[in-house]
């Protein structure tokens, strides 16, 4: 079965200013490790795009086997334009900080039947009936909501790290 998006619009963060890129990378990795996600990285691109700075692109595709039938995917796309690194003193400590336009997109998805046990014939039809009709609400409440709010949690953590103003979340 194809992967199902759990949110109508993917949570994203856009930020322009100075930030700690290494810290941001560690924050995301730690967040994923705490939740026992298997970490995978599809793209890590760093190219000298313009005189204003480099263009950085990262595509992380971590996944978590929740049950033998359900798997979570969180695709994290990070793009930085006009990326420049320089040394600065932060809280009395010498640190490497980055400057640029940052874009982060978090796409949470649920995959059914990741072991491909029911991919053909009558089993596939039965599976579709179960997933799309009989147990639709059960899956939505149990898996979709959990993953969606996990994605929002990661977004809030990133916003907090970047010291953005919209960091408080009621959800």
């Amino acid at each position: 079965m194809p992967k199902d998006k759990v949110l109508p619009a993917t949570p994203d963060v856009r930020f322009k200013g100075t930030f700690d890129f290494d810290g941001l990378y560690k924050l995301i990795r730690n967040w994923l490790d705490d939740r026992k996600y298997d970490y995978m990285e599809k793209v890590y691109k760093d190219k000298a795009a313009s005189p204003f700075g480099n263009e950085l692109e990262l595509n992380m595709i971590p996944e978590l086997k929740v049950t033998p039938y359900i798997k979570y995917h969180i695709e994290i796309l990070i793009k930085v334009f006009d990326f420049k690194e320089f040394d600065a003193v932060v809280d009395g400590e010498k640190k490497k900080v980055s400057n640029g336009r940052l874009f982060i997109q978090i796409t949470p998805e649920v995959e059914y039947d990741w072991q491909k046990k029911y991919k053909e014939g009558f089993a596939a039809t039965l599976q579709e009936l179960m997933v799309k009709r009989l147990l639709k609400r059960h899956f939505e409440i149990k898996y979709y909501d959990t993953l969606a709010y996990d994605a929002y949690d990661l977004q809030t953590k990133i916003k907090k790290f970047l010291r953005m103003k919209t960091i408080k979340s009621a959800y």
């Binding site: 949110l7 109508p8 619009a9 929002y152 009621a170």
Partner: protein, 166 residues
Amino acid sequence: MAEVKNLVYGESFSFKGLMDVEDLYMLLDKWFKERGYDKNEIWNFEENYDDGKQITLKIQPYKKISDYAKVEIRLTAQLRKLKEVVIQKKKQKLKLMRGEASFTFDVFLTTDYEEHFQSSPILFFIKTIAEKYLYKGYVEKYEEKAVADKDAIKRELKSYLNMKRF
């Protein structure tokens, strides 16, 4: 495709002065959560410029009233030229932002969002007739509820920003 009815489009107000952006965001989030809306954040931009910080926020929380109708309130907030100021209130120092803000509201009612009546023309016809004549009262009730919710959050925002006419 589900049918989307546009109930309010581009209703806006603006404000210039002091505000606590973190609390303002929390107020919006909390208000929608308490009324059973699901979070749906479309844009969240924060940019630092020479003349101050600029925040663009577009949220479109939705509430599934039934498995047939869904209400969506889209709020676009643009906060510009934000500069941090420290003010003293009752011997307490508060960090606030001074700047310009504009808020735009759109309200949508989506019917048959699960697309149960889209598979054949006859089902679509039955749905249209039912919506227009048999369940007209229900649909109107949903519309009124959506617009009332928009009015309530608008009032809440104006009252939070201490605007005189709310």
